[in-house]
């Protein structure tokens, strides 16, 4: 393994993050605060509690997931798409690095940034509501796995994308609806039975349900199933990346 190269890519990506630290820090703080004002206060005043948890506290895991997932995708896709767009990818392709090292460098950096923002949102949420974390280890595992797996997805999108429009296509048209319909702001038990069944086809449900369980012990689906879902998703992304590595798809002519 060319560890120096992995470190170089990771550092280079993190430098970009630190260059815009204020933006990286305040933007999630602001958007989280807005969600609390709009959803927590306005809607929360009508929904007092869900299974014994105040509505404001109930939406915290979903809010963290929402931001973490979107940021992991955008960081990783931008990270690898930008060199393609600028032409600087020639350097990665002519360096003594294999695809795995490139993936570790970019995905590692994207996941770190998403994790940082996830923790910032968690800290911001404590200013608005009382939060308890019943299963801290499971919470950390879910958070880290989510950061990693969606960074992998972002990396795939970045490799696939031929222009900036395509880069935002998947996050906006697929991921955002899945997250909003995945129980970020409600428990799926609040839906009519038919929609409950439909919702079970949304993979994000398992993610948010598992993450919320690590906070409050509340879950829409069994926790084992949530773990299995995120493991399968990570495995799927790794398989696609392995295939890209084998074929050089969209990278090497």
């Amino acid at each position: 393994m060319n560890w120096a190269a992995i470190a170089a890519i990771y550092r280079f990506e993190m430098t970009r993050f630190f260059r815009t630290l204020l933006q990286s820090f305040f933007s999630p703080v602001l958007s989280t605060s807005l969600y609390f004002v709009v959803f927590g206060t306005a809607i929360g005043s009508r929904i007092q509690e869900i299974e014994g948890v105040s509505y404001g506290a109930f939406i915290v895991p979903g809010l963290i997931m929402l931001s973490v997932v979107m940021l992991a995708i955008s960081n990783a896709s931008f990270g690898i798409y930008f060199p393609k767009f600028l032409g600087t990818i020639y350097e990665l392709l002519s360096a003594p690095v294999n695809f795995l090292e490139i993936v570790i460098g970019y995905v590692g950096a994207a996941a770190t940034k998403a994790l940082f923002v996830g923790l910032v949102i968690l800290a911001t949420a404590t200013l608005f509501v009382e939060i308890r974390i019943q299963h801290p280890l499971a919470m950390a595992a879910f958070l880290i796995l989510t950061c990693l797996s969606f960074s992998l997805l972002g990396f795939i999108i970045g490799i696939w994308a031929g222009n900036f429009e395509q880069m935002s296509l998947v996050p906006q048209l697929v991921v955002t609806p899945l997250i909003f319909l995945g129980g970020t702001f409600y428990s799926i038990t609040m839906l009519p039975p038919v929609w409950q069944t439909v919702t079970l086809f949304n993979p994000v449900v398992y993610l948010i349900s598992g993450f919320r369980w690590s906070f409050y012990g509340l879950a829409d689906v069994p926790i084992g199933l949530s773990l299995l879902a995120i493991a399968a998703f990570t495995g799927g992304c790794l398989a696609v990346i392995w295939w890209i590595f084998k074929t050089g798809w969209r990278i090497r002519s």
């Binding site: 170089a8 550092r11 930008f82 600087t88 002519s94 090497r252």
Partner: protein, 309 residues
Amino acid sequence: MSTILSIENLRKFYDGGFEALKGVSLDIAEGEILALLGPNGAGKTTLISTVCGITTPSSGRVTVGGHDIQSDFRAARQMIGLVPQEIALEPFEKVMNTVRFSRGLFGHRRDDARMEEILRKLSLWEKRNAAIRELSGGMKRRVLIAKALAHEPRVLFLDEPTAGVDVELRKDMWDIVAELKRAGVTIILTTHYIEEAEAIADRVGVINNGELLLVQDKASLMAQMGQKQIEVMLVERIDAIPDALSSYELALNGAGDSLIYTYDVHGERTGITALLNDVAQAGLTLRDVSTRQSSLEEIFVSLVSEDAA
């Protein structure tokens, strides 16, 4: 000198069946400067991209320092530096950071002394903390060279290093290349400026339609392929070449005061003595005589047009 880069029967088919390289074979000796000449689309960049790992070869074998570029790609690429044709740099990044990144990418530890040496050599030291977007085009090209040299390669590829740069910067580039050669770096550059090859290369390769038409020592190429011209300047103008001189392949210049005779330097007889005698016999008075050797450009044009025929 030992061979540092060996290319054997290299072929490249792109999707759609276009054959960009048609079995190119080439050995490059350590420490030499080879200029690859060819028109646009000849396969120069594909050749470089394939050796450097950006493009996958369809068949054939390439070794760098004895290391196969596919089965032993790490060792092979470690020896290669590439300066691409297009200026491709992250605009917001600082000069020092981007050069340091390149060194790390090739598996080298951070070495500030080495970085300083490279940046000073390329007159970039004062700009080390400047963002790339603040630099002039010439400075950006220097940054690309600095990045390519950051891991101390033994073979440097320069893909059209002076395309679109002004005369002064071109001369600077030639000086940089000469200095790298003195330091023992093998240099392969592509260009379509013949004067560039003429000025700095040890050997010249001509590539067209994916085929290497020739690779030869520059001096011997010019001597072998070169034709010379003798210009016989006359005191009085003439309207047409006199019949007495019709056995020679002569051309009359536009002003009618010079006869131009083209001959092969390596021919058994150049015919110069006889021509001069016959010119005098035809009643023409000589004002002056000059000779001119054909340039690499003419050699190149004739090779490429022969190839197209």
